[in-house]
Symmetry: D2
């Protein structure tokens, strides 16, 4: 059984394991004050072309989201997000648990627009409602779509004009950057804070929080310590991000994932299937006849994402740094067979 | 410069790296539902002789403490701890940040006694004070001492008689178990919950929370997820604890640390130095003349723990899974030389 | 300028002032342990026909909601409410500030149905979403509608079958009870907890929280104290509720408010205006031509609730214990005049 | 049985009841935007000689403390207080429940000194401890002592030099101001925020929070609303503070309480009894033979504060706005008799 369930099924990129082995016997300072964490932060700042960015490494995405959001907001302030946002649907109320309301906005493509922000601000009532202060978006989104550079710039402007901070959840940033025209320096320029996902891009674990806005940098590390998010052996995160940001490995991984997903997507398209969302990233959501899904399930693991009607469902296929092209080819072959059979069956029924 | 600053300066035990390499390409379920995490939990339950214990793996000690404590207490309940307890002095207010008061108890040796618990209960006032509900102890303590089996039993009885839960912070449990007559089954029998420290016993990161009391087991994992403590690649923790609990590696590591520390302690004793605390674990706190400290500092890294008087300070030396006997010998040699010189200087001054 | 803005514009019912004066010189115990609070609680238990109900008095509705909800839920549990619920739109994120997510449900009439509850439960995902544990409804609702007895029973059954608690926000309970066939004993029987609004029913301030479910009664008072909701001079609340629950004053007030509102509603109906919601309680939401609204605004204060189209808006009119029939007559007279003028103007335009 | 248990046993000053009656029929805006609240705030600003102070009225002291403290501190910041401080011993962990650690300082007289603040700052460790940011003192203290003007100035300077805010809990400020040389303008000048206690100085309920530091004023009202501390009928608080701050009634009440307490204290002194603390405010703590206490308990209610030895205990006597001189005289008479008897008994025993 081969799994396309997610991008954290495998271990880590071999170059990371290699670096862990080579450094294993060395003694280093704890809590992120090791040489590797410093070097990794420097490499990231270089890519961002932003020498003043603050970089902190932590172990996971929910932790990144809750720590960042809770560190920014005053108790009576809220965060705006689309209703499919990870913080709304997949973090067990982690943001509310820090005391903050999320203003949910409807969206069909997982993306937030300036008009959505304005609509939330328009409904604000003094004293009786929390003050919106932060905008949360994911790039790419939880349903595979991504922002274009001009969309990011528009959101950024809207935020600045309205006294809002902009935060990007980059759990799958490698895939997002490779799919869009947004660059690392754009992230430094147009957001107040974002995080670079390691867990879903070939690391054993780890996300790099980047704080661009100097106001938000102050004492941030205290939030990490207080929430149990500061690893004693911080070197474990530093080493991994050093590897990911040397020789452009991070984007290489993003490209690989996207190419593997695109190959899958092409096959579905050629067979005439449509998609739940228009994705160019490492998550695709083809809509398939249930009989085809059942056939594929015998050899492959994946999520059935959404029932479309009595005959069809959308499934989610995710590629990772470790996805092998041979497996993609095998899957496509099996898809063609399943699809062929299905068409025959449908004809016969008719 | 060789460091005796702590037990998290090095990477991980080679057997762990080996297991990570061997399993790297495998695909596993996320969030701790992988095969390795299940196997590690089984191995731990076996050692505890407690088939019904719930075992959860998370990334660090502060995270373990805050997640466990906050999951147990109702909003108006408090936890009792000695004033040197890790949750009181080294976690940036993490417990209070979850909404709970810590009732601090004075202690000269880092250990809590039943009489301390009773004293806190005696000061309780209905409605106007939080209700004490949990007792937190560390084994070994933050200053190197440890509990004896009969002390643990006495605390456990006191807790049960007074409707209190008992929680052991086992950040350095490997060292503690090897220094005392307390066994794994004792921990299952006499505590409601405890955690097994991996980070300070040869893992890259990771602690295993063990919940013995069935009342406290229910839905615990939701707390982990909500606090960002549930790793997507949970296998990383599972694999490490599987290695640590195969072939008694965990206790082997504890023994090694303790022996290295004992060898250091003997040298100090032979030279006539006294100690701040009576430690048989991997942290020792010799009291040295400042001139000796300064000489040692040229070659070794360690914390100056406490100024005793104008002439002497207590230092902390910590050994780890990676401490080499050769380095211990070298240190002792250098200590003898520094000590010799100091005695001469003192004589000359006189 | 006469105000129909809300039901807390005036002071308190004269009988309450009288009782405050008569008792003023007496010495009583603090924090709700005074004779009057005990008597008031007894009177309430009598009305409920529920000798085991726990009754606590506090100063306001948001305080009641947040204290009750936070006392019931474990950190990873959520509460279900309609999107117009007071806790969602008018409490500055007070519930989220206690750490809990509100699952918002769409509703056109401000009422929650069992099917809404089931729909939320169906979307639940283990571990990754908070566990719904509590259902919050308001009787009457924030938009003037109310539940019928059979609807309450259906909700209650649905909750019990699904392991959910049921909580009624009774900020305007006097009005709600007088409009519906739900009785005090029904509230004891079919809810786990509810509160009786005093502030909006003739008290200076104060709400009575009634906890029917014995599981939820334990130590509840600690939550009050911890959140600053336990008044030192608890007698102030006790005296008021004693007055409100002697001689059925509470329901008398509810009836008065409803009758005054009904008289207004009839006038609008006779003039052919429609309403935003079908209300038989003390809040009505007639939809009026903007020119009529503007004329009324010269003599009366009220909220413009919602813009319907370019010509019409819904306004909110609220009656209180203090609303005088003469003022209602005057308003109706002014309404007829404004309406007459408007119709003429419209004719002329045509 | 006459009670000297506390200063909230009786209702309110008659002038307040009178004002409530006179204004009862008037319609006013809610949530503190009524005319009376504005007038009361103006009167307070006048007394403070501080036109820019922000004034907010809320219902109780614990609510004032928790709202103010939580509004000032960032999540990782702590507050310094003496171990007898109200927030440490009598608020059911309300401050910790907002997420903040209180750094407790030992003090024999209930007062905090600059050296205590410096001692806390000296123990601070970067990252691993919360950052102290606020100093909390009570004037008068919980054990009857009070600050002198020069002590307040010294604390204020110490705070400003060390980047700390200074907050005074003025639950019994009327008594404190009348006992010390500190004036209202001093409070505006030397604190960042303080509150004026109404509940314990003749109001039915209510405290006035005064925020002097403009940085701390912004959006403060959102905290009030979110914590359920903003009364719908805010007029109830406004009217009371308007009465208390017209014609110096507030200080008149303070003087009365202090004089009644002083008269009691003189009697104890004349009889040769000593005191637990040196109080010139409305709480005194005489140390009496247990036999005397038992005799007094037959006619009077008061707290036994602390057991001194097998023969003696300190009791607490509190006077209020309502304490009648006749009762003081009666008590003194009874004290003389009880004392006489006791001395005889002691002689006979010898």
């Amino acid at each position: 059984m081969y799994s396309f369930k997610n991008d954290y099924s495998e271990g880590c990129h071999p170059a990371i394991l290699q670096a862990l082995m080579e450094s294993n016997g060395e003694q280093h300072s704890g809590y992120g004050f090791d040489m590797y964490s410093q070097q990794a932060a420097d490499l990231i700042r270089e890519k961002l072309e932003s020498p003043s960015a603050a970089v902190h490494f932590i172990s996971g995405g929910t932790q990144a989201n809750l720590t960042v959001i809770a560190s920014i907001l005053r108790p009576y302030e809220s965060v705006i997000a689309v209703e499919t946002g990870h913080i709304l649907v997949h973090e067990t109320g982690a943001i509310e648990a820090t005391g903050h309301k999320i203003e949910a906005v409807q969206s069909t493509d997982g993306k937030l627009r300036s008009s959505d922000i304005i609509a939330v601000l328009d409904k604000f009532e003094e004293i009786h409602k929390p003050i919106p202060r932060l905008v949360y978006i994911s790039h790419p989104t939880e349903i595979g779509t991504h922002y274009r550079r001009e969309e990011l710039i528009a959101l950024s402007q809207c935020c600045r004009e309205n006294g809002l901070y902009l935060f990007i959840d980059g759990a799958r940033l490698a895939s997002g950057l490779c799919a869009s025209d947004i660059t690392f320096p754009d992230l430094a320029r147009y957001t107040d804070v974002f995080y670079i996902g390691g867990t879903k891009s070939g690391a054993l674990l780890g996300e790099a929080i980047v704080i661009n806005n100097p106001v938000l940098q102050q004492n941030f590390i205290y939030n990490l310590k207080q929430r149990g998010a500061l690893l004693a052996k911080g070197r474990l995160l530093g080493i991994q991000f050093k590897v990911l940001f040397s020789n452009d490995l991070f984007l290489e991984i993003g490209n690989h994932m996207n190419q593997m997903a695109a190959k899958l997507a092409n096959a579905f398209q050629e067979l005439g299937y449509s998609f739940l969302t228009n994705s160019q990233t490492n998550q695709i959501f083809p809509i398939l006849p249930i009989s085809v899904i059942e056939k594929l399930q015998k050899k492959y693991d994946f999520y059935i994402w959404q029932k479309m009607n009595s005959r069809e469902s959308a499934i989610r296929l995710v590629t990772s740094w470790a996805t092998k092209e041979a497996m993609i080819n095998q899957f496509i072959e099996d898809l063609y067979i399943a699809s062929e059979v299905e068409k025959k069956e449908v004809c016969e029924v008719r």
